[in-house]
């Protein structure tokens, strides 16, 4: 990587950092100042503006893992492996955030931390799949083999999502339905101000994804570069 492209990269990421920061500020202001408190649920409902964007982000990230895995197996370029890896890490972080913010909201509203509702169960299984993906990466030495194995798992894991969705959904229907507010119910009865806040928050989180992704990819590429330089040093001495 020559000097020029490094600087160019930096400049681009600076713009993204500022943009993400500003939009996040707006999102925070909207969540805590602008949007009115929900009548029945109270202030705890505001966690939804973090919860839903995190969920969206983790699904998006896992979809990117899937696409990059296919592209890797097709083109065999290290680039795609880096993207898949970075995206999986971000996806797991935000999936964890979903699993943490969910119970915080559920305790005062439903009265329990956790119910075996379809949506909750699928998110938990999804989290387990991608934690396994990251574990596989951690257990194998860096190289072509790790990239191939991870790519296979990235594809197999994502294709599992529809099966998980339906099996868990049908599994639940045999039990008494818990008092769950479905997303359709949420969307319908939502105030315009709430929708706007959710929109800003979604934008902020999506920008954050690209910011984190850019940083992580750059880091991984620098790691490759250091490895290459080390090897060069080793051979020359």
């Amino acid at each position: 990587m020559n000097q020029e492209t490094t600087e160019e990269l930096n400049e681009e990421s600076y713009i993204l950092v500022w943009l993400t920061g500003i939009v996040f500020l707006f999102a925070m202001a909207a969540i805590f100042l602008f949007v009115p408190t929900e009548q029945t649920e109270g202030p705890v409902q505001r966690i939804m503006y973090i919860h839903i964007p995190s969920a969206w982000l983790s699904f998006f990230a896992f979809f990117i893992v899937f696409t990059c895995s296919i592209l890797f197996l097709w083109k065999k370029e290290r680039e795609w492996d880096i993207y898949a890896h970075a995206s999986a890490e971000i996806g797991v972080i935000f999936c964890s955030l979903v699993l943490i913010t969910g119970p915080i909201w559920a305790k005062p509203i439903w009265g329990t931390w956790w119910v075996w509702d379809a949506r909750l169960t699928s998110t938990l299984i999804l989290w387990l799949i991608y934690v396994a993906y990251l574990m596989l990466r951690a257990q194998t030495e860096a190289g072509f083999m790790r990239a191939r194995y991870a790519a296979v798992l990235g594809i197999v894991g994502f294709l599992n999502i529809p099966f998980i969705h339906f099996s868990v959904l049908w599994w639940r229907t045999f039990h008494p339905q818990p008092k769950v507010i479905s997303s359709e119910g949420f969307g319908k009865g939502m105030e315009t101000s709430m929708l706007i806040t959710l929109g800003i928050s979604l934008c902020a989180f999506t920008l954050l994804y690209f910011l984190l992704m850019g940083q992580r990819v750059r880091q991984e590429k620098l790691k490759d570069e250091i490895d290459r330089l080390k090897r060069e040093q080793l051979y020359s001495s």
Binding site: M135, R148, I164, W170
Partner: protein, 226 residues
């Protein structure tokens, strides 16, 4: 095509001869499945819960755990003395290795299950014989799904340092749809439901099997590659 089938048959036959000579796998799987069932019987109170309600779950957990032993063994055996390398040097398509392994895993698991089912019937006092036909279909579909994904992932995990640990961690979350479907179907069959009344579960399991066979065909080349 004929050659291809012969290659698959040769791999299956090789696994069979190995098993006949060593007699390690089947007995271990059977005893392990039996132990899992026993441990579950001790951990629940059968006088409170209905046997036909908890039975299917316990049965499938036993199949799953015992099957994992079989899967771990399947490719580990090939890693010893570099047999896998020998297999890959055979002028056969890599998918033939996959299908050979899939079929031998499937057969070993099915034999184990055929031994476990009568014991299950005795321990839980459930009449399986009156629903034997649909039950065998369900057991086959579930076992096929387990083997399809299990063979793919065990070919992958056998090259890792921590293979015995990683296989279940990778495999179990992906198998949850199959487990749910298999347990539900078995439970409904024991309740006397006809197979035609649970087509959505059968469809889910069958499409799981088909899609993952397709994925395995497409990706096995990337796993078995030096």
């Amino acid at each position: 095509m004929n050659l291809y089938l012969n290659q698959i048959a040769a791999i299956v036959w090789k696994d069979f001869v190995t098993e006949l000579k060593t007699r390690e796998l089947l007995s271990a799987m059977f005893i392990f499945a039996l132990l899992v069932i026993l441990i579950f019987i001790f951990s629940i109170n059968l006088s409170i819960v209905k046997a036909s309600e908890v039975g299917p779950g316990i049965l499938w957990v036993a199949f799953l755990f015992a099957g994992t032993i079989g899967l771990n063994r399947s490719f580990m055996l090939e890693k010893e003395n570099d047999c896998l390398m020998g297999l890959m040097l055979v002028p056969a398509d890599r998918t033939a290795i996959y299908f050979g392994k899939l079929i031998s895993n499937l057969i070993f698991l099915s034999i184990m299950e055929l031994f476990i089912l009568p014991l299950f019937m005795i321990f839980f006092d459930i009449d399986l014989l009156s629903h034997l036909g649909p039950l065998l279909v369900v057991v086959f579909l579930g076992t096929l799904g387990f083997c399809v994904l299990g063979t793919l992932l065990s070919s992958l995990s056998s090259n890792l340092k921590t293979r015995e640990i990683m296989l279940p961690i990778l495999l179990y979350p992906l198998l949850i749809p199959i487990i749910i479907a298999a347990v539900r179907m078995t439970g409904q069959i024991l309740d006397g439901t006809e197979l035609s009344d649970m087509m959505k579960w059968v469809g889910l399991t069958a499409s799981f099997d088909i899609i993952y066979i397709g994925v395995s065909i497409m990706t096995i080349d990337h796993i078995l590659e030096e």
